[in-house]
Symmetry: C2
Subunit: 342 residues, 2 copies
């Protein structure tokens, strides 16, 4: 059968290595060898195969390849909420590194819900992802251990579940808040409040520890003034109002993340208070707009994009080396950006 006819005949079906083999006068295995490039192939055969591939516009079926090789060139990314700019930047970092290396990213928002996280972990495993980057809720320790045991490497980011053989990328939350709190103290504030979540998430526990550390470091140690709001932020207004209307209200507030910050800003606006005259403010997480508001907002900036990149690099490194890597943790340093709010 002349080449033209072969091509015409094939137009409907999906093309396979057999078609390329036939057109190039070789065998499926030779075509496969050219495709994977790990085994030597004679120059003339190689050229014939490449020519046939180009002529047919053949593209290998990646699913068939995955069934054979057990690798999918896909990774999973589990984060709390992509709408949070911190996780958004993290995700960009992961995606940029992954896509450069030819990996696709399946992204999943857990909403801080261990149930949802668990079913996503299961789904990703069933889909055969080569690895997973996740900001663990903490509620799926066993499932995470399962994944690792069954050969799917995990990289933890932002949070850490202790005792797993998984690399981690974290931030020095303690140091970041300590520095920021000391900055407020240096501005002359002696009654400094902390607004954080009522739930005991690891990053929040560390931020609280940093706050405490700073207070205790003062010559005359300052007393704690902590406001714990619900994760859904529904009680922020009420609690902030109570705190600021008390007999000895704080003169400065440290807000433990960007979500909390927005809800506190609202409460402050509703109370008609002026920042920083009535109350000074510093925030954990820097948003783009914080430099543009009046007053601009003093913030602890996390290198979220680079943290995402590092997590993806950890993962790819594990995927390409079969040596059972030692567990590493990369700790990034936040940066205090002093602006007008406090």
């Amino acid at each position: 059968m002349p080449q033209e006819d072969i091509k015409a005949t094939l137009s409907a079906r999906q093309l396979t290595v057999k078609d390329v083999a036939r057109l190039s006068g070789t065998s499926p295995s030779t075509v496969s060898r050219v495709l994977t490039g790990r085994v030597p192939v004679a120059k003339d055969k190689y050229d014939a195969v490449m020519k046939a591939i180009a002529e047919l516009n053949y593209r290998p079926n990646l699913i068939a390849r995955s069934l054979k090789t057990k690798a999918t060139f896909s990774i999973g990314l589990l984060i709390n909420d992509i709408l949070n700019p911190f996780y958004g930047a993290l995700a960009r970092g992961v995606e940029d590194v992954a896509s450069e290396a030819g990996y696709a990213v399946m992204f999943c928002n857990t909403n801080e819900d261990p149930g949802r996280e668990g079913s996503y972990l299961r789904m990703l495993q069933d889909k055969g992802v080569d690895g997973i980057v996740l900001a663990p809720t903490g509620g799926n320790r066993d499932a995470m251990q399962d994944l690792i045991s069954s050969g799917t490497p995990l990289v933890q980011i932002d949070r850490q579940v202790a005792g797993l053989a998984a690399n981690s990328v974290t931030l020095d939350n303690i140091g970041g808040v300590e520095t920021a709190t000391k900055h407020l103290m240096a501005q002359g504030h002696s009654r400094i409040g902390l607004v954080t979540y009522a739930i005991g998430q690891m990053t929040m526990i560390d931020r609280e520890a940093g706050y405490r550390k700073a207070l205790r470091s003062a010559d005359s140690s300052l007393s704690e003034l902590i406001c714990r709001v619900k994760f859904d932020l529904s009680d922020t207004g009420r609690l902030i109002t109570r705190m600021l209307k008390s007999d000895t209200p704080p003169t400065a507030l440290f807000l433990a993340n960007n979500r909390i910050a927005l809800s506190v800003f609202q409460a402050i606006k509703e109370l008609g208070l002026t920042v920083p005259k009535d109350i000074a403010i510093a925030v954990f997480d820097d948003l783009e707009i914080f430099s543009l508001t009046t007053p601009s907002i003093t913030a602890v900036a996390q290198p979220a994009y680079n943290m995402g990149r590092k997590a993806a690099e950890f993962l790819l490194q594990q995927l390409s080396s079969d040596a059972p890597a030692i567990t590493q943790t990369a700790v990034f340093q936040p940066e205090l950006i002093v602006r007008e709010s406090g």
Copy 2:
């Protein structure tokens, strides 16, 4: 061989339908029938299979299934930039609907780069996604047509490439800007500037059209005052300064999206102007913080989350019905939220 031994023997390898068949005293095809649930199976066999599945904690290999069925239960999502809150909300909508239906989402940031979009489209096709939701750059018309022809449904969101057999989800950009501009006119402004991109992206062309429409609708038609900034926003400061320092500067500005808005805010802040006293402002896209700043920002809000949901619903609808659906376009209405800035 007693059951215990079978289980013990299997602990290492991945479990298959054969293992379930053996333990349940049936055949692989019966196990498959139970798994897919589309073919009747006798009650006793069904129970035996289910029992074996539970006992072994068997989970089917989805990649093998995909190779056979040509369906992956994965969809692709191509957007400009997940860090833009508009696309972030869109992505959440897509993901929420997709995950409820058991689909995973592969997400890809195009950075408005047709080359990057093209290679992602190719990758997604090679990975065998069942469908794609995308905000097209416009530079890959042929690749999009290819996808559709080869049986991968596409849903366009935010933008639209004309003449493709693909459902679309868009926003009434013209109406949104017309309403907002008329609002500024009603506030007494007769010199109203528009800040938009120099590049001719479809949404921006429509927003400009809405602006023009409003100006022309005035009794004495107002003259246009358009500032076209680079997509990378590097010249915003220079151009805004020139515009506002001209002999007859605008007294109000409409900013065509949230990225442009932030860069213009910076320019205004650097010029030391006060909003809305020196210059009134309205923005396309509503950010969470716009209600909390001083002054709060008048904005045209897009229902981004619901647009994402609708796009995913369009796609899933096409995936579940084999009827060659007629092409539909869902047009959402934006909402003008009047605040203090203008």
